[in-house]
């Protein structure tokens, strides 16, 4: 049982049209760590994330999750990888595609082979973790944006992943919903990789920050020291909000 939830070495990737997105990324995350992945738009953060569950097959380099190699050619291995890596995408409407909340949360564990009462309890537990238990039979479009965000997180938690990856979790949330989401994330016992532009949110929830810029890792260290280095931030189009002090 590996202590490393995620190990990426020398990951490089070029799009089919020739554009190089990643130039050799090294990143390793231990179990229980919470890491913020920061960087300007176009840095390659989403490309990196899509490598983690094999949606983008590894062209060059190596990605392994909880000791298991992410190998695009091995369908069985990919299937188990996708249950170990829980990706919450930015738009909850892309992620909630079943008729009811309960069925959406059940989708992941169902594909993992759970049925009957095991499936039901996985769904109930996941919804409880995000505080959305009463909405189990509602259609997703009856929910507010913040509620849909939380359900999207539940859909991934139900698979009991080894690592939770969130893409811009706090975007478009009103302040109260943002705080509720922060409380939920804090309460989870999980390894976290959070891609975000919301530096205060990252500071609140993560201990470590990695800056990805132009396809390479430009910084990797305790979040306080990364965010305190204003020259470093500025060089990569990052800034703390006015009036925010660490």
């Amino acid at each position: 049982m590996s202590d490393k939830s995620l190990e990426i070495s020398d990951l490089a990737y070029a799009y089919p049209d020739g554009n190089q997105a990643l130039f050799g990324v090294n990143l390793s995350i231990n179990r229980g760590e919470r890491v913020a992945l920061l960087g300007p738009n176009g840095a390659g953060k989403t490309t990196l994330v899509l490598h983690l569950n094999g949606i983008i097959p590894t062209m060059q380099g190596r990605v392994s999750v909880a000791g298991e190699l992410v190998d695009g050619k091995n369908a069985e291995s990919i299937k188990s990888i996708r249950h170990k890596v829980g990706i919450v995408f930015q738009d909850p409407d892309d992620q909630l595609f079943m008729p009811t909340v309960g069925q959406d949360v059940a989708f992941g564990p169902y594909n993992a082979g759970l049925r009957g009462s095991q499936l039901e309890s996985a769904v109930r537990q996941a919804l409880e973790l995000v505080g959305m238990s009463e909405f189990i039979d509602r259609p997703p479009h009856h929910l507010s944006f913040g509620q849909r965000r939380r359900v999207a997180v539940a859909t991934v938690l139900a698979m009991k992943p080894a690592i939770l990856v969130m893409d811009e979790p706090s975007s478009n949330l009103d302040p109260a919903a943002r705080r509720e989401l922060a409380e939920i994330i804090t309460s989870l016992d999980i390894t976290l990789l959070m891609v975000t532009h919301d530096l205060p949110f990252a500071y609140e929830l993560c201990q470590r920050a990695v800056i990805l810029s132009a396809g390479v890792v430009a910084a990797d260290g305790p979040i306080k020291s990364v965010l305190s280095d204003s020259n470093l931030l500025k060089a990569h189009r990052l800034e703390l909000p006015k009036g925010f002090s660490l």
Binding site: I87, F89, F97, F107, G108, N111
Partner: protein, 217 residues
């Protein structure tokens, strides 16, 4: 619908059963009337029938109409009305999801069920987007008054198509990320109480009963 129109008592009975069901279901009469408007093309067709055909002619309001045509025409109106009222009863009392589930049980091909299912889920996402585009256009002074403006509308429709297509791709990625391998989860069978089955069968059973009675009289 299979009953020959000559069996008038049966048809009267059918109509009363449907009306009773509509009343019991508490469907507002205005809703029924508005949804029945779909029948208008059929009525128009039926009204034309008495003017064509062969055989006996009957005089009616100064016009010479074909007996056969009249019978056929009235038969069409009666059957169409019965069909429309039954469809209204179904659509007003059953959610789209349940109808889809029913069609799935009746062995409608899985691909069609999946397509219909996703359409139901994403229809208002797409219409919301259409509305936002309309508001954005109108906010820059656009008024769609004539054929000159169709080009703008066509461009918007094209943009909407591309956005919907890309959303489809993102949804597919999300599905893959949760282990999708080609089949959607089947919804567990909901157990139905005997009373509900009897309740559901009451309509066709009473219709069948009326038919039997009318034949034997």
């Amino acid at each position: 619908m299979a009953t020959p129109f000559s069996n008038i008592p049966a048809y009267c009975a059918y109509f009363s059963i449907i009306w009773l069901a509509l009343i019991l279901a508490k469907i507002p009469p205005l809703t029924v009337v508005k949804r029945s408007l779909i029948e208008i093309p059929f009525i128009a067709f039926a009204l034309l029938m008495p003017f064509f055909g062969q055989g006996e002619r009957v005089e009616f309001l100064g016009l010479l109409l074909y007996q056969e045509g009249i019978e056929a025409g009235v038969g069409i109106i009666a059957k169409a009305t019965l069909g429309v009222l039954t469809a209204i009863l179904l659509s007003a009392t059953t959610t789209a999801r349940e109808i889809l589930r029913g069609l799935e049980i009746l062995k409608l091909p899985t691909l069609l069920v999946q397509i219909a299912s996703f359409m139901l889920r994403y229809l208002n996402v797409v219409t919301d987007e259409m509305e936002r585009m309309r508001v954005a256009r109108a906010s820059r002074g656009f008024q769609e008054t004539g054929i000159k403006h169709w080009k703008v509308l066509a461009n918007s429709a094209g943009a909407l198509f591309i956005r919907s297509y890309e959303r489809g791709e993102r949804v597919h990625l999300a599905m893959l990320s949760r282990g999708y391998t080609g089949t959607l989860p089947k919804i567990e069978r909901v157990s139905v109480a005997k009373s509900q089955i009897l309740y559901g069968l009451s309509l066709p059973l009473s219709a069948g009963l009326c038919l039997l009675i009318s034949i034997s009289i």
